[in-house]
Structures are given as structure tokens and as C-alpha cells.
């Protein structure tokens, strides 16, 4: 599985972008999407709420299972991806692209996030 080199990855299988103007974009990894199966419902944090790195901020549900969504970063949610709320299958189709979940205003990304190689090694070890 290919993990884009320009993203950072959490141990909980979320990714985020390097912040642009202090805002990072968050999604779940292709590995997580594949493990979940076909995603049919996502519950995202509301705009204006604050999420905390490593804490539950929503749910992601497939036909077979439901998983908590963990925030990879700390900050205020400034936007959610309405397209993915309307069509959760985007998470499976383009997990690292159009299937992004929400955007957070951050001061900095947590230092413990992994790069693509580190995350690939993590899920390689799990697979």
C-alpha cells in the first residue's frame, strides 16, 4: 500500500497534512479504510469544537464494524468535509485525497507523528 510522502501519520491510522496558514487537513489512512471495509457513515466533530490529539472525536462505521475516530492533532475544527458526510464511500475510494474528513487550526503538529516510511513499517508489522 502506498502512503503519500507529504503526509504525517498517527498510530491510530489517521493522517494529516503539513499545516498551511496554520490549518491541517485530517483523514484516515488507506490501510484503515481497507481494514474497515465499505464505510457507510461518518460522524465528524462539529466546526468550532476543539479536538485533542489521541482522543476520540467521532465515529466511522462500515457494514461490518464501527470504529472510533481519533484526532491526530490538537486544535479547533474549522471545516468538515460535507462531501464525505454525504458520500462516505469517498473514504474507501480516495482515503488520502477527496475522502479527507476535517480541518483543524493547529499551533504545530505533534512530534510523535510518523512519516510515510515509519507508518508503512507500522502497518507492515501489523498486516
Amino acid at each position: 500500500m502506498n502512503f503519500p510522502a507529504d503526509l504525517r501519520y498517527s498510530q491510530d491510522h489517521e493522517w494529516c497534512t503539513e499545516p498551511a496558514d496554520g490549518v491541517t487537513t485530517v483523514g484516515v489512512t488507506g490501510y484503515a479504510a481497507e481494514s474497515l471495509g465499505d464505510v457507510v457513515f461518518v460522524q465528524l466533530p462539529e466546526v468550532g469544537t476543539t479536538v485533542a490529539a489521541g482522543e476520540v472525536c467521532g465515529e466511522i462505521e462500515s457494514t461490518k464494524s464501527v470504529s472510533d475516530l481519533y484526532a491526530p492533532v490538537t486544535g479547533e475544527v474549522v471545516e468538515v468535509n460535507q462531501a464525505v458526510v454525504d458520500d462516505p464511500a469517498l473514504v474507501n475510494a480516495e482515503p488520502h485525497g477527496r475522502g479527507w474528513l476535517f480541518r483543524v487550526r493547529v499551533e504545530a503538529l505533534p512530534a510523535e507523528l510518523l512519516d510515510a516510511a515509519g507508518y508503512g513499517a507500522l502497518v507492515g508489522a501489523e498486516a
Partner: protein, 370 residues
């Protein structure tokens, strides 16, 4: 089996791996959970055809002059009345009436019956049948290792199969079976299934399984039949309101709670569990299995509490639940008190700490041709 035992492989294991299936351990077997998308596999069965490997299921054969009498004593159904080449859905119960497994019994010969058990229960069923058949002139054999089982299910299944066999499919009725030659292989061809669609199950020798699978794959277009895994099998049977052992059916409940009291036949001789089941029938169950449709998008899942929507008091338990691909809404089956079981009673399910409103509906959620 011991936890450290590696899962068993079906005769189609290499086929699944070659297809890139997502494999899972199920009832001691390594089985395909899905090949690509479980939603696509689900819709393929509803709209075209799906192809399943069910070789994990158990096959127990009874032969001899008293095979039917032994089954009448061992099971709750009336097997003595089962016609040649007919099949029946039935159950094996403990002396206290608790369900040990649900089964399909096929009458495959004048004095020969094939009992198909759930994979997780095969050892228990084989042992119970052997014990209960002692004293009858019959031989009980666990022949699971001698059988592979493929299922082709969906509205296109009959048309696909017709290209591979001379068997008279038009006269093969639902819950009937016949020995047939399919793609050059001897099979027991049965018009049974677990999806709510028309379809067939093919029992064959393990050595024939791969060739038969490939012939069925090649019988239609590239996507018909679509290989389908256990994930879609579960969502299909849930929509069809069919019980799954370990969920709707357990050792702790009788067929009457599950709304399946009709499978218990008292108009035959003595059978294991008769006294307890008769008492339960006469007293009436206090809880019963119902269908639930969620008003929101969060799905009730197995084990979640059903609660009174006003007080939040737990009144029942969800046994299976998932977003229904066909209905586009979450559906579930649950045990609730009889006085809360009428459609359309409004109830709620505690979905991970938050109450979600649900309505009691008639089962099944989906009926073909509807």
C-alpha cells in the same frame, strides 16, 4: 480446538488468496471476509449473482433403515415425513429446550440423510447425533472433510447454472435437492441458501471444488457471479431476517423465543427436549425476536442494550445489526419483552452511550420480488 491451532483451510483457499481476498478466522477456518467491497458483493447477490465458498460448514451423514427414526428422536422436526430429495430447516435442542444448532437436513437416498451444521457446531452436532442414534439401526458419520460446499445465489443463479448442467432446474423446487453433474463434476445440487434470493448450494468432493468454482465464475460475465465473502453473507441473511447461531439462536433460548416454534413438531414420537419445549410452548415465551429499523444512521450492533425510550431502562438486547445495503438504513434483530414486540412500537438502542430511536418492524426486512 485449542487457541494455538492454526485455522483450517478450505479446498478453495488458494483461489481466495489468488483473488486477493481479505481472509478472516471464522469457526476455526480461514475464510474470505470480502474480496473487494462487501457492499458490491451484497448488491451483486441481490441484482445478479454471488459465488460463495461455504466449505467450512459441517456435513454429517446418516444411513440405515432407522436413519429417519433416529433423526426424529434427535431433532425437533419431522424428518420421517421428508420426501426423497427434499430438504428441511430444523434444529437440534438440548433436553432443556435450548438450541444446540440450526440445521438443514437433506434426504439424499431412501435410507440416507445429509445433515448440514454450522461450522462452529459441527463437532457438537456430530457427537450428539451419534449419542442420540445409539439404539437405532443407523450409522452416523461426520463427513465434513469429504465435502466442499459452494453456493451460487441471486436472481441470475439459475441461468448461470443452466449453462453447466443438464439437470432439470425448473423442477428443482425451493428446499429440494438432486444428484447432478455440473461442469463435469458429480454434485448434490440443492435449491437452498442463506441470502433471501433464489439460489443453489452445490456439495462436491474437495478435489472438484476449484474446477467447479472456476466453471461457475466463467459461466457469466466478468462480474457475474461475483465472488462473495462472509461479510456480505451476513448482511444478506440479516436483511432476509434469517437467524445466525450464536446471535439469534443460542443454547440459552428455545426456538419459541426466536419466533421459530413452527419448526418444533410435537405430532411425532418422543424426541430430545420434547417435555421442556412443550412446556415453553404452552407457557408462551416472555421475550421474542423482533426486527428493528433505526431512524438515524448509527447502527445498533450485536450486544447493544435495547432500552425504553422514555426511561432509558434496558429491556432487551440486540443480537445482530448493521447498516442495510438494500434499505439504506440500519437494521437489527433483538430480543425484547413480548409486550413491547408489536410493530410499530417505538424503542431505543443504546449505541455506545447515546440513545438512538428505533421502530419495531415485521421481519424480514427484505423479501425478494417485493
Amino acid at each position: 480446538m485449542q487457541p494455538q491451532d492454526p485455522p483450517k483451510q478450505t479446498p478453495l483457499h488458494a483461489v481466495h488468496v489468488a483473488l486477493g481476498a481479505n481472509m478472516t478466522d471464522f469457526a476455526g477456518f480461514s475464510m474470505p471476509l470480502r474480496y473487494t467491497s462487501e457492499l458490491a458483493e451484497h448488491h451483486a447477490v441481490r441484482q445478479g449473482a454471488g459465488l460463495f465458498d461455504l466449505s467450512h460448514m459441517g456435513e454429517i451423514v446418516l444411513t440405515g433403515p432407522q436413519a429417519a427414526a433416529a433423526l426424529d428422536y434427535a431433532l425437533v422436526g419431522n424428518i420421517g415425513k421428508l420426501g426423497h430429495h427434499r430438504a428441511r430447516y430444523t434444529m437440534i435442542c438440548a433436553p432443556d429446550g435450548g438450541v444446540l444448532d440450526d440445521l438443514i437436513v437433506y434426504r439424499t437416498g431412501e435410507q440416507e440423510y445429509l445433515v448440514v451444521a454450522n461450522a462452529a457446531n459441527t463437532d457438537v452436532v456430530a457427537a450428539e447425533l451419534s449419542a442420540r442414534a445409539s439404539g437405532f439401526d443407523t450409522e452416523v458419520t461426520d463427513a465434513s472433510a469429504d465435502h466442499a460446499l459452494l453456493a451460487v445465489q441471486g436472481p441470475a443463479a439459475a441461468g448461470l447454472l443452466a449453462t453447466l448442467t443438464d439437470a432439470d432446474l425448473d423442477n428443482l423446487k425451493y428446499y429440494a435437492c438432486l444428484p447432478a453433474r455440473v461442469a463435469g463434476h458429480e454434485v448434490l445440487l440443492a435449491r437452498t441458501g442463506y441470502t433471501g434470493e433464489d439460489g443453489f448450494e452445490l456439495f462436491c468432493a474437495p478435489a472438484a471444488a476449484e474446477s467447479l468454482w472456476q466453471a461457475l465464475r466463467a459461466a457469466g460475465g466478468p462480474q457475474v457471479p461475483l465472488p462473495a465473502g462472509l461479510a456480505s453473507r451476513d448482511s444478506l441473511r440479516l436483511e432476509a431476517g434469517m437467524p445466525l447461531y450464536g446471535h439469534e439462536l443460542t443454547r440459552a433460548r428455545t426456538p419459541f423465543e426466536a419466533g421459530l416454534g413452527r419448526v418444533v413438531k410435537f405430532d411425532k414420537g418422543d424426541f430430545v427436549g420434547r417435555g421442556a419445549l412443550l412446556a415453553r410452548k404452552e407457557a408462551g415465551p416472555t421475550e421474542t425476536l423482533v426486527g428493528l429499523v433505526a431512524r438515524g444512521r448509527r447502527a445498533p450492533r450485536a450486544g447493544y442494550p435495547v432500552v425504553d425510550p422514555a426511561s432509558g431502562t434496558p429491556i432487551g438486547t440486540v443480537t445482530s445489526g448493521a447498516p442495510s445495503p438494500t434499505l439504506g438504513q440500519p437494521v437489527a434483530m433483538a430480543y425484547v419483552p413480548v409486550d413491547r414486540s408489536a410493530p410499530v412500537t417505538e424503542l431505543a438502542v443504546d449505541v455506545r452511550g447515546r440513545q438512538e430511536p428505533v421502530d419495531v418492524v415485521e421481519l424480514p426486512f427484505y423479501r425478494r420480488g417485493a
